[in-house]
Amino acid sequence: MTTAATDRKLTMQKAIAEGIFQEMDVDPSVFVMGEDVGVYGGIFGSTEGLLAKFGPDRIIDTPISETGFIGAAVGAAINGMRPIVELMFVDFFGVCMDQIYNNMAKIHYFSGGNIKVPVVLTTAVGGGYSDAGQHSQTLWGMFAHLPGMKVVVPSSAYDAKGLMISAIRDDNPVVYMFHKGALGLGWMVNNPRATEPVPEEPYEVPIGEARIAREGTDVTVVTIGLSVHKALDAAETLESQGVSAEVLDLRSLVPLDRQAVINSVKKTQRLVVVDEDYQSFGMTGEIITTAVEGAFEYLDAPPVRVATPDVPIPYSHGLEEWTLPSTERIVAAAAGVASS
């Protein structure tokens, strides 16, 4: 069984759907709501196969009423259910953010801990395929800025399944973001690293623990989501240039594994932060500040950020490519900081 499990490779998309499937199978309080989660199986396949197994009462297609149905997930969660609710693209948060950040994320606190709100909010993030400025953002820095929700971003199939199961079992609201470019969808170019062996049985990956995706000694590259794979690609190039890069996959922004960042920086003494989200007032600043707070004397050179500049993500392929963090930009940044 164990051998069979580790031999089986899944895409991240299938791993997500499998995680949901297995929890729904054992826990009748889990259900799914969202646009096109039923017969379509989720625009990005996150609910593929669920309708056939669990039927339309537990896999509920909704109107385009995000405030209504995400708020309904909150109400259902307060009343004993464990909803998984999908915001099709994170870019749409603006039509329903009140329910997310002012309600879902705060009720537990306002109630002094008396009321739990175990919602999993799934949402697709990321660009790279010319879907322009209202369908290509990651925005995780913004979600992480607002207290009361966990923010999880798997980068590959093993973590995707385990983090999904952890998220469903978590008594807190969890925003679960999957990067379109890491899902292994047939219709989108994918980084092949995201597809990997996934055990058949249910398992948890703890939320709040970063993962060293690659060990290294000269420079730490901290990142999350699809950029983990770009960083790993960059690390290979860097190795050929004689630079040993350690790649840290944060896996969640809330809770943030600050100690993992600090430990790695203490080891390598140099830091690059790669973020597909907008550069300013976001993740790059938070990670660099974490390193400065926790490893100031260790830093041999100012940390460097590789992020999406503060512009709406442009449509035209060349513009977008120039905008999003690329393997080349990571290589250049890491090589630069390693030699300074």
């Binding site: 708020g71 009343n79 009140d98 705060k106 966990k150």
Partner: protein, 328 residues
């Protein structure tokens, strides 16, 4: 409709309790804020939205409630919370920011949450409406015959959440009763300046559900209409939209100069104070004599005093407790 006497008495008692609670909160709110009103000072700092005059919308549903029914209310929540039977001591303690409060002092007057009875409210207009829909969905999943009541102001009826929530509940035929408390004002903005049609109950047709207008601020009228709507929901026949014309006797929040409503309006409103009118009616109809009403008042006032004493005797949370309860 023949209303059981105990329901009439219960509604009267509850109205008295609500009014007394609001009056006493008002007194204590201003206690240390005057002569120069400072919103941050006193026993109860912060905004305070009181519901004196709106008791009928709250007590009318009370006799029809069953354990486990969910209610979501608004920034003006006390009357509804009291009518549902939320623990008055803990509620008062929350309003006074104490450790013994419903939310250990973290939520305050706009964020009262109770598990049993099943109550919640919020400071954001329309925010509770989808939550009620979700509660009703949970009841369906769990196979109970509980229902959810969603209270909101007439001002809230122009917020997108109104539309999305009612459509969802109607589409899924969920056991929700949407209750619009129409006090004719959203802060200073009169309904005619916010709402393209006179009665929100007419908007029910946009969702294919019953819409009923209660045009008097009268607990008996509310009792009847809410009873029918709640039964309907409990039977599984889906949601209703009820609009109740009511009066906010005081300012939008305490400290509001209320200059946007003219004296004539306010005078007429005070003349039809629903507590006075209902008391009179109960006396006229021989249901509760003046003496009986006095006895009720004393008993209810004592309950309110006890709650306030409990609250005032309770400790404040430790400052660093601010860090607790972000996550479970």
């Amino acid at each position: 409709m023949e209303i059981p006497k105990e329901h009439l008495v219960d509604m009267y008692e509850t109205m008295v309790k609500i009014r007394r609670f609001e009056e006493r909160i008002r007194e204590m709110y201003f206690a240390d804020k005057l002569p120069a009103f400072d919103i941050a000072a006193g026993l109860i700092p912060g905004e305070m939205h009181l519901a004196a005059g709106q008791e009928p919308v709250a007590v009318g549903m009370r006799p029809h409630l069953q354990p486990g029914d969910a209610i979501t209310a608004t920034h003006r929540p006390h009357h509804v919370a009291i009518a549902q039977g939320v623990d008055l001591n803990k509620m008062a303690a929350e309003i006074f920011g104490r450790e013994t409060g419903l939310g250990r002092g973290k939520g305050g007057h706009m964020h009262l949450f109770s598990v049993e009875p099943n109550f919640g409210c919020s400071g954001i207009i329309g925010e509770g409406m989808p939550v009620a829909v979700g509660a009703a969905l949970a009841f369906r999943f769990k196979g109970t015959d509980n229902i959810a009541l969603s209270y909101f102001g007439e001002g809230a009826a122009n917020q997108g959440a109104f539309h999305e929530s009612i459509n969802l509940a109607a589409l899924w035929k969920l056991p929700v009763v949407f209750v619009c408390e129409d006090n004719a004002y959203a802060i200073s903005v009169p309904k005619a300046a916010s709402t393209a049609i006179p009665d929100n109950s007419d908007r029910a047709s946009a969702y294919g559900i019953p819409g009923v207008l209660v045009s008097e601020n009268d607990p008996v009228a509310v009792y009847e209409v809410m009873g029918a709507a709640m039964d309907r929901a409990r039977r599984g026949d889906g949601p209703s939209l009820i609009e109740i014309k009511t009066d906010r006797l005081w300012g939008h929040f305490e400290g509001d100069a209320d200059a946007y409503r003219d004296d004539e309006f306010k005078e007429e409103m005070n003349q039809r104070d629903p507590l006075v009118v209902f008391g009179q009616r109960l006396a006229d109809e021989g249901i509760l004599s003046a003496d009986e009403q006095t006895a009720i008042q004393e008993a209810q006032h004592a309950i309110v005093e006890e709650a306030l004493e409990f609250a005032l005797a309770s400790p404040y949370p430790k400052p660093e407790a601010a860090l607790d309860h972000v996550f479970a």
